[in-house]
Symmetry: C2
Subunit: 340 residues, 2 copies
DNA sequence: TTGTAGGCGTTATCAG
DNA sequence: CTGATAACGCCTACAA
């Protein structure tokens, strides 16, 4: 019953020719006679011969695999990036090996080391919070020193020389804050995470820049820093109750969604009494009630660009030591949490 | 600057011993003298020697890679499954290659054929809608005939003999419908997709079973079949307006979320005038307003079980021709769309 | 205790 | 036009 994979050797033996003749015949080489080629090709087709990827990888020192290392996969933004990577990679004949660091430094290191031993031709990754906290990038440096191309996206670091793709997080926060100010909001809060996350830091900067630039006199920083990646509902509730904000910008969707619920429970009208803008224009923003105005991060595009940059590096012969950082423009998507 | 990967050959040449001596020494073989072993191990460590995965794969005919083929990755349920697969696979030293079929039969076929040529040791997959529509499973049969283990989850077919993992979709729909009936709902609608999707079909069956079993006299089927995977807001709106339902069960989250918005726009109170239950207990259900009662599909557990079954098959020597189907119990998670 | 040889499946070079 | 040989990196049975 088992139709095991057939190899060049089998064909050669069966047809009583040499392995190299078979190999050439299947490549339609000019060296081989029409007759022999036809015989071999017919036989190969009949038995559904397909070359073994692993053997080819060993020979070519090319796997046609891309390693994508992300902190979490149950996460809208990262999945859109993966989709973008897949999309581009597939057109170029590459497969995508997905590894989850689970926001852990150790897992990130282990995963990368494993894949770096020949399983992939290059990495596309976003740093785990654990890594950004430890601020230790030796595993990345080792990879690049071995000549394995690396593209960092979204959560990046300046410690490593490699190609990078991000959106202009500061500008995103700036745009959002500006929008709120222009709507006449006077006390604009920011709910963020720790600054060791590169993106949160950049967003905070953008928020502060806008405040400074357009700042109404009484304006001041109203920043809530969540202690962990998890959401702490109580903190948000207290923040809304005590800080008397009339607008809130959050570095993700969840904080906003939850904030809106708290606000509504407190009897506040959205957006009349308080308005919200979140980051990461995902499903939650679209389907929230009221729908959430948010800063689109263009994950899919980011994935495509990352894959393009990576494959370009993989396939370029020369050892170019030039790296670039592509910065995408964020887009403000207006919904009912700021307008009605 | 480039510290290229070092091989056994390099070490052997450098230390003026044979390759096999190096190989054995690094495996701490008894055959090799203490002295030689120490010398070799020290050198290997210094130069950070790591065996090449590809070479080992070729030799062992084992890649330690699992191919996961799913219709879409920007999708909560599938990502939870992937996470479960990763979790279990990693503990067993396997990597996960993710391929997206994009709901397309053709892409599913291409992806699988590519990976089947030696890149993976087994498949975990959920059928694309395109495949279920075509009802053509030859690509799956070929894979299993080649002796490559396959586990189907969620969207499965009886046409292929292999291990399967699903939740009891009929029971899920039955439980939900029963709950609605017990709450005194009289006109319970179902919003689903085409029946060629195995899960939608099963859910419809469960819904009808409950209606029949508990059916209030006036009860009848109030079924809206969405023509595509995409959501058509207009159809839902008309359905709610015209069918006079006082409860709706939907085969995913989105239909419910959207339905709730339509209902609220029509001035209906949830859950007083109309209540909702959806499938796939994801973020949307949790953060919707009101929060959505839903049937949890236990994706992560499903992924773990799939991986466990697959790896068990991969690593078992014998050609067992026995396949099992594991059926997980769905769980009804009550939220504010049915209670307040 | 160490080394040689052959093989995993493929391709490229060179010889016949 | 066809085939033998070596090589990719590793492992292992068998010699020495």
């Amino acid at each position: 019953m088992l139709k095991k994979k057939i190899t060049l050797k089998h064909i050669a033996r069966e047809l009583e020719v040499s392995i190299s003749t078979v190999s050439k015949a299947l490549k339609n080489s000019e060296e081989i006679s029409r007759e022999t080629k036809e015989k071999i090709q017919a036989f190969a087709k009949l038995y559904n011969y397909k070359p073994n990827n692993i053997a080819i990888s060993l020979k070519n020192k090319r796997t046609k695999n891309i390693g994508v290392v992300i902190p979490d996969i149950v996460h809208h933004f990262f999945t859109t990036v993966v989709r973008g990577v897949e999309k581009y990679a597939n057109t170029k004949g590459y497969n995508v090996i997905v590894c989850l660091s689970d926001e852990s430094f150790d897992k990130e290191v282990i995963n990368m080391e494993l894949l770096a031993n020949g399983s992939i031709d290059g990495f596309i990754m976003s740093l785990s919070s654990g890594t950004q906290k430890e601020n230790d990038y030796n595993h990345l440096k080792e990879v690049t020193e071995q000549g394995i191309p690396l593209v960092l996206f979204d959560r990046i670091t300046n410690e490593v020389e490699c190609d990078k793709v991000i959106i202009d997080d500061a500008m995103g926060a700036y745009l959002a804050t500006k929008k709120l100010i222009e709507q006449g909001r006077k006390r604009i809060g920011l709910i963020t995470t720790h600054d060791y996350l590169s993106v949160s830091k950049a967003r905070t900067t953008g928020y502060q820049k806008a405040l400074k630039e357009f700042g109404v006199s009484e304006q001041q920083d109203l920043i809530l820093k969540m202690p962990s990646m998890e959401m702490d509902g109580q903190l948000i509730e207290n923040f809304i109750k005590n800080s008397k904000v009339d607008a809130i910008l959050t570095v993700n969707e969840i904080f906003s969604i939850y904030g809106m619920q708290v606000a509504q429970d407190l009897g506040l009208k959205i957006p009349d009494d308080i308005s919200f803008i979140g980051f990461t224009d995902g499903l939650l923003s679209k389907y929230a009630n009221p729908s959430l105005t948010s800063i689109a991060q263009h994950g899919e595009r980011m994935g495509e660009i990352s894959a393009e940059m990576l494959i370009q590096k993989i396939e370029s012969e020369e050892e170019e030591e030039t790296y670039q950082t592509k910065i995408l423009e964020p887009t403000l998507i207006e919904r009912n949490s700021t307008i009605n």
